[in-house]
């Protein structure tokens, strides 16, 4: 049974696209046929983060409008088997996402894929609503700061009231929290909320904590999901999160600063 998972947050810039790319790649690496769909019509970035922007001919909106077949718009990832990307249009806007159109495309994807990851745009307007409407599960991407947490709270409310599952009074959308850009130093000095603070406010199961790291930006610039950089902490954190999503029981890592001597710090910095 295939699952539609939305990556959403309310707030912008928290790492939805980065997380969607890594999460999709992680599921594919574990052998599940996975597609990641960009819902950010007009501000498309997923293809950049996935490194396939040079191969886009047709997009999600073309398929919705019947200008292209789904097979023509799907891009196969060159690094990871079982991973596909459905890019969106840069020249259109969110109004191009119609409920029947999105439903038809997602329905067709369900026939082919085990997991369909919907990369939501920021906000709680049409684009975000369309991305979450058909979802079975939701990964709420949150940064450890109050505005992000408040927006996540808001989007959880939207999920519980305006998703298809809510409207049809089905079993509610299953919620997961993914805490990203977790800066240990700033958490320790009290500048940022701790995992426990966030958990207390949002009260949903924690899928993973991804530490703030240069390697995320580096991966984006390379057009390669950070999960493929298995030497990096974020790469390992995403792999753990995917594992937990699939039912593995794993300890949370990277929650406390490791005590390091000056010598080790120097070593790490030069690495």
């Amino acid at each position: 049974m295939s699952k539609i998972i939305v990556m959403t947050s309310g707030k912008g810039g928290v790492g939805k696209t980065t997380s969607a790319a890594s999460f999709a790649a992680g599921l594919a690496l574990r052998g599940h046929k996975t597609v990641v769909v960009d819902f950010d019509v007009g501000l498309r970035n997923l293809d950049l983060v996935m490194g396939c922007e040079r191969r886009v001919v047709f997009d999600f909106i073309n398929v919705i409008n019947g200008d292209a077949r789904l097979k023509q718009a799907l891009i196969r990832d060159k690094r990871v088997e079982n991973l596909w990307i459905l890019p969106t249009s840069q020249t259109r806007d969110k109004n191009a996402l119609t409920k029947p159109g999105v439903e038809r495309v997602l329905g067709a994807l369900r026939q082919e894929f085990d997991f369909i990851i919907c990369d939501s745009p920021a906000g709680i307007e049409k684009g975000a609503l369309m991305a979450l409407y058909f979802s079975d599960e939701a990964v709420i991407v949150t940064n450890p700061e109050i505005s992000s947490v408040r927006d996540s709270d808001r989007i959880l409310g939207v999920l519980a009231s305006r998703s298809r599952r809510a409207e049809l009074e089905m079993e509610p959308v299953k919620e997961h929290l993914l805490l990203t850009r977790y800066d240990l130093n700033r958490v320790e000095t009290g500048e940022m909320l701790t995992v426990d603070d966030v958990m207390e406010i949002l009260a949903i199961p924690l899928l993973g904590v991804v530490p703030e790291s240069q390697s995320v930006l580096r991966a984006s610039n390379l057009g390669s999901p950070v999960i493929l950089d298995s030497a990096s902490q974020p790469g390992q954190a995403y792999a753990d999160a995917v594992g937990r999503f699939l039912g593995d029981s794993l300890e949370h890592r990277f929650l406390t600063a490791e005590r390091r001597g000056i010598f080790q710090r120097l070593l790490r910095r030069s690495a």
Partner: protein, 292 residues
């Protein structure tokens, strides 16, 4: 020959209903809503493609039979279609009954909405019959024709319908434009085309003097010329013209396409990137050729 009497004008000639620059005169007569009160209406402009029915010989006994035959070819297309009557062919035939003509046309499920190219007398007759007089924008009439041939071809409404007057230099250029160019001439863009924008030169060429950002899209029925860096998409001959070409000073495009044949960046030879090139179709093959 009925086919000569009317033709469908595509985007070549559009009649624009323009919003007046100033508020309606009604506003000064005391009935206007006070500020803050809700409005009863909004007046907006819109532009539409209309059918033009060129009247050549109204006295021909077969006129309406031929019209019926024509309509029968595509009844859904013509049903209740608004039509503009072109009176140029009737210039010498004197006055006739507009109300009767309008009635007959409506019987055939055509809705006459106005006239063009009429004499002053004819225009008045049309107005009396409840039709409008359409200004002759840049209709495909040879301009060198002596003005006396149709002394009142220009309805009095014209000045108000024209865009605001520009410096004389511009005005002197306009009349000398060949009328053919009005049917989809060249579209010129001088400002940068940002990501997400789409520019379409319908029935003509597109010339861009500036940079085209990644995520922007250029479309033309004819050729596409880009003098800045081309980082977005460029599609020439989008209505099927296989002879259309793309010319660009610096090829960094995400995608290029001619008449539906495309090439994405990944499939372009690296040594062509950044070069000045022309792109054309050779059989089914898209050729990118450096221009030194």
């Amino acid at each position: 020959m009925p086919s000569k009497r009317y033709r469908r004008l595509l985007a070549s000639r559009q009649f624009a209903l323009r919003e007046p620059d100033e508020k309606m005169t009604v506003a000064s007569q005391g009935n206007a809503p006070a500020p803050g009160e809700t409005q009863a209406f909004k007046l907006r402009g819109g532009s539409y493609t209309l059918l033009v029915l060129q009247l050549v010989d109204l006295k021909n006994p077969n006129f309406f039979q031929w019209l019926l035959d024509k309509i029968a070819q595509a009844p859904n297309f013509y049903r209740h279609a608004p039509v503009v009557l072109d009176l140029e062919g009737l210039a010498g035939s004197g006055p006739f009954n507009f109300a009767e003509l309008g009635r007959r046309l409506r019987q055939h499920k055509l809705v006459p909405v106005g006239v063009q190219n009429g004499t002053e007398e004819q225009n008045q007759g049309a107005i009396n019959a409840g039709m409008s007089v359409f200004p002759m924008w840049r209709a495909a009439q040879p301009l060198e024709e002596p003005a006396v041939a149709k002394p009142s071809a220009e309805p009095p409404a014209k000045p108000s319908a024209e865009p605001p007057a520009k410096p004389s230099a511009n005005q002197s250029v306009k009349p000398s434009e060949p009328p053919v160019q009005a049917d989809g001439g060249t579209t010129l863009v001088t400002k940068p085309i940002r990501s997400g924008r789409q520019v379409y030169a319908q029935q003509g060429d597109l010339v861009v003097l500036s940079t085209v950002s990644a995520g922007a899209e250029l479309l033309a029925d004819g050729h596409v010329h880009v003098y800045g860096a081309l980082r977005g998409r460029a599609l020439a001959g989008v209505s099927g013209d296989t002879s259309a070409r793309i010319f660009c000073r610096s090829l960094q495009a995400e995608l290029v396409s001619i008449a539906g044949h495309w090439l994405v960046r990944e499939d372009m030879d690296d040594h062509l990137i950044g070069r000045t090139v022309q792109i054309y179709l050779k059989g089914d093959l898209l050729v990118i050729e450096p221009m030194s």
